[in-house]
Symmetry: C2
Subunit: 321 residues, 2 copies
């Protein structure tokens, strides 16, 4: 399956979502450059539609359905950004979306998904219940299941952020040496890998992961996929395990995975808010936390670094500072 | 003095600060468009250097000093964004900055100004003490006094945001019908007026002001300059009175000044944070609050509106929500 996703797929996804997804801005901040000892270029997916990069993949997947398949709708299980992204992508194509959410999901998130016109189906808050319920909905409706990350079109769509980042940084007069992305299920990171590998001058790829959900770092060290159990981190977008599709791509392309504590994540989040005025969620702050970590400081040859800020969906009533 | 500031001055300022000040992004948000019933284009000066538009004017003024004048430095009195802006502009030219601040100013703001290498001189927290102290510093050092807003080069510099806004909105395929800016001392608003009046298709200009510091609206209604006394609003960047230079420009160019309550300002601030992911200070939220107000809804012929978000310097420890 790995070989099935190529840089050409990412380029095709970029053409497909152009003018539909936002071409989000790339921002710089002199203060953060000084702190990191490198030039940092932030790809601001917090300004993407639905407030997260997830819209890229959802849009790419929904747009490739046949009219007949599309008419029966799409289904997924997610309590986070993928739920909103798929709901909006379906709404824009004018087809139904069925979103399976755990009954413990916040009313705000549920309302957001319903606000995009999707039908929410509640289930018990276990992975098994989510998968069973999604399968039932799929059978009942004939909707197409769109996995949040372990799906070739989702991965290709997420990779488009890196293509834009490279182009936009070049417009600013700089060639990137490397890119760093956060890793949860690995959709964004594996898409980043494929996009980076297809460039005329391939980028080095780094990953940032919370210590409290470090299955990617442990898998990387062991050389085999180790699922995440009992994740515990403020970076609530990065709780999931790597998938069968995303893991081998990450294993083969990523140079280093830097793990960071929640304390580092909150400190980095505050820096991004206060100094760069970038309203991002904890899962996005993980990349800056990694870049400021001692282990990343030892990395040589990376003068210009792209950082993918994955999203900005954070509850203002429960800020960690 | 009014006739002395022309659109050509704003264009010259734009050339002068190009590559020094940031060309801040223009952002859009479909949700806010729906709420406003118009297409909104946000000029994001929260991403400007020092986190506010004030850097434009300071940079324009400092760069026009002769080498001899510059060597003796610049002086101003301000506890806000102008203090940081002037300090950074002086630092970038390699000349001294003397900033008179009230002894009640927050340690964070003082540290920020000192962080840019400026010398801070504390005084009692009255306008008289600030002016007297600044005059003393000026006499002692030979530094040039740069007023926060009632200064031709400051006004011309602030107008550059509007020139960029118009160009960037055109790059997005839209011609603006009007622009709205917040009004405190009137430097940004009067610069906006002059920039807007010099365009091939002049823009209509609106202003937004907090009810708790509504000297501009009262002056506008009375047809004469009425100073602000005892301001009381969360929009702490808009407490000052209009100046001798800014008032006649505003009187002659602004179509309407919409006043809004602090409650409206906080609600608009939350919308910008939550829906647009724009981390802006209360003084910036005033423009969106005005646009969502019933009185602005009655304005005809404004399909595409530019909103100048003045800055993003807000204390994360004292958020109003």
């Amino acid at each position: 399956m790995n070989a099935a996703i190529t840089p050409a797929d990412v380029e095709a996804a970029a053409r497909r979502i152009a003018g539909v997804a936002h071409r989000t801005p790339v921002m710089t901040c002199a203060t953060l450059d000084e702190l990191a000892g490198r030039r940092l270029f932030f790809k601001c997916e917090n300004f993407q539609k639905v407030g997260a990069f997830k819209f890229r993949g959802a849009c790419n997947a929904v747009s490739q359905l046949s009219d007949e398949d599309a008419s029966r709708g799409v289904v997924t299980h997610s309590s986070g950004n993928h739920a909103q992204a798929l709901a909006l992508a379906a709404k824009m194509r004018g087809v139904p979306a069925f979103i399976v959410m755990p009954e413990t999901a916040s009313p705000v998130k549920r309302a957001a998904v319903e606000g995009y016109g999707a039908e929410v189906i509640l289930c018990r808050p276990t992975l098994e219940a989510r998968e069973t319920t999604a399968a039932e909905v799929q059978q009942r409706t004939g909707a197409t299941f769109i996995h949040p990350y372990d799906h070739p079109q989702i991965i290709a769509g997420q990779g488009t952020a890196t293509l834009e980042l490279v182009e936009q940084t070049r417009e600013l007069g700089t060639e990137l040496d490397a890119v760093i992305a956060p890793v949860g299920g690995g959709g964004l990171l594996s898409g980043t890998c494929i996009a980076a590998s297809g460039l005329a001058s391939p980028l080095r790829v780094f990953a940032a992961e919370p210590l409290g959900a470090d299955d990617a770092a442990r898998s990387f060290a062991a050389g085999e996929l180790i699922p995440q159990t009992g994740p515990n981190t403020i970076a609530d977008g990065l709780l999931t395990s790597l998938g069968e599709l995303t893991w081998p791509i990450i294993r083969d392309h990523v140079e280093q995975i830097v793990t960071v504590s929640d304390e580092q994540i909150v400190a980095a989040m505050r820096l991004l808010w206060e100094r760069a005025k970038l309203l991002i969620e904890p899962s996005s702050a993980v990349v800056l936390a990694a870049v400021l970590d001692e282990r990343f400081r030892e990395v040589d040859g990376v003068e210009s670094l792209g950082l993918i800020l994955s999203g900005g969906n954070v509850s203002l009533d429960r800020l960690p500072f």
